[in-house]
């Protein structure tokens, strides 16, 4: 970035006067960022291991991404380009407010294009565009412990991780098959990282699990309420758990995206009316828009365009 920076520094208005309440760059104080970076380094050194950290109160409620925001705040620099997505979309409340937050307290450039971003903070999706070396994906994690719903005691789950006792995780998958005839877990699907730690990939659809495997990008996970950080370094094995006779499978969609015609992407169902009308569109809005700009047309895109013209 060689262009002169005309944006106001954080804590200053456009006239350059310092306001009374000035924030440190990226909101957190330097000591806190240092503490979080240490936790991140440890997490990278032990892939999949949940590192405790002294999570701070953030100016947003728990469940809105306080963990992800703290991780992003600790690693972001003035030169970074930030993308924030919520369920794949750049324009939903959570994504918009976190993006605005960092534009205000760190004055960083924001983008919606996956390829342009250096840091992507995400809630529950991995972008369709393959991530490259040098990019960092920051996940917002509600419950970091994959064994939590099977074993409520933290002392016990820590011991199970330490001794690599992961039979219980398969009990959950067994229950799925016994009840539904197949592994019915569709999100937060447990994975084994680097052949050692079982990890909760946060509530991403299992469709995204294969993207984590040997990804070129660094993947960081922050859980604010539970005060845990964990990580998957680039090029690390991430294997979804399964049974020999019930292997891991991702969701299949029987039709392409209604707007851009993409196949082999994760689709959201959109209800159109109260008479059963519905459409399936890419959950990754940036991917969908890029494809539309490239001239790909889904079956319902044309009608929407004509409707708009008719309305005008």
């Amino acid at each position: 970035m060689s262009a002169p920076d005309t944006r106001p520094a954080p804590g200053q208005d456009s006239a350059g006067e310092t306001e009374l309440a000035a924030y440190n760059f990226a909101y957190l104080d330097e000591q806190t960022k240092r503490m979080i970076r240490r936790a991140i380094l440890k997490a990278i050194a032990i892939p999949g291991y949940q590192v405790p950290f002294a999570s701070r109160e953030m100016p947003m409620p728990y469940g809105w991404g306080t963990g992800g925001v703290q991780v992003t705040a600790a690693i972001i620099g003035p030169e970074d380009v930030l993308k924030v997505i919520d369920q794949g979309a750049d324009d939903t409340t959570n994504a918009v407010s976190i993006r605005a937050f960092f534009q205000k307290v760190a004055a960083v450039r924001a983008t919606t294009h996956t390829a342009d971003a250096t840091i992507i903070q995400t809630r529950h999706r991995i972008p369709e565009h393959t991530l490259q070396e040098g990019q960092v994906l920051v996940y917002q994690v509600p419950i970091p412990e994959p064994l939590r719903f099977l074993e409520p005691r933290e002392t016990e789950t820590r011991k199970m991780h330490a001794l690599e006792e992961y039979g219980l995780m398969h009990v959950k998958l067994y229950e799925d098959i016994a009840r539904h005839g197949r592994i019915a877990t569709t999100y937060a699907y447990p994975v084994k990282v680097h052949g050692r730690y079982v990890m909760d990939p946060s509530p991403t659809p299992k469709f995204d699990n294969p993207k984590m495997h040997r990804s070129e990008a660094l993947q960081l996970f922050g859980a604010g309420r539970e005060k845990r950080i964990y990580a998957v370094p680039p090029h690390t094995d991430v294997v979804s758990l399964d049974f020999e006779d019930h292997p891991f499978e991702v969701q299949q969609f029987d039709r392409p995206c209604a707007l851009c015609g993409a196949t082999h992407v994760y689709l959201d169902e959109v209800v159109l009316d109260d008479r059963g009308g519905r459409m399936f569109v890419c959950s990754d809005t940036d991917y969908c828009e890029t494809r539309q700009a490239e001239g790909h047309v889904g079956e319902m895109l044309a009608t929407t365009a004509t409707d708009r013209e008719a309305a005008e």
Binding site: L150, G167, H170, V171, Y174, A178, R179, D245
Partner: protein, 258 residues
Amino acid sequence: MSDMPLLKVRSLSKFYGNRIGCHDVSFDLWPGEVLAIVGESGSGKTTLLNCLSTRLMPSTGDVQYRMRDGDYRDLFRMSEAERRVLMRTDWGFVHQNPADGLRMTVSAGANVGERLMAVGDRHYGRIRATASEWLSRVEIDTDRIDDQPRAFSGGMRQRLQIARNLVTSPRLVFMDEPTGGLDVSVQARLLDLVRGLVSDLGLSAIVVTHDLAVARLLSHRMMVMKGGHVIEHGLTDRVLDDPREPYTQLLVSSILQV
């Protein structure tokens, strides 16, 4: 093989501060043998059982266990990881209250299959077949395999707990009042079942009970405890038919005769 004891207990004591849990207990347990520990409430039987099964650290004494390779290992010098592997493969622990030993929120099949998955079985079909076979062995209808134990009666839960423990064919099973809280006819059926399984599988077992009838039916040998001390120790029939200690005589004579 069986000329060597499975478990060697030497002067095992457990103190709770100044109070005695159990004091200076020594015995050998042989392969295929069932030992009953009887006594009144507070006599230290459960403390002793918990020390033997490494659920509790004793204050002094040691317990040697003969591993499958024939070597004796001191249980309290093993690492926690080794002990936990032992507990879920070579041992079983049947709790008085089945809810303590079962996962109440997962199906009966998964309860039985959990140990198999813990030792690395990753084939759903095989796990389910084994679970179903074990359910029928403990007289639970195999069509209940997908029901949760909370939908089971007390006797069924106890039998399920036994199946869950025996699925990895352990060599030693600890039972803490296995028939406590069951009505008499269910008790009788359960005892019959346990007796059959123990003799079929050649299990060794240590059974804690306050019920002398249970000891009479299940055990080959028994130990009578009072105030943390073993006061009498011998073959079950000998102890019950010809009790030597005054306390044991009192215990035997206090059985209700109908």
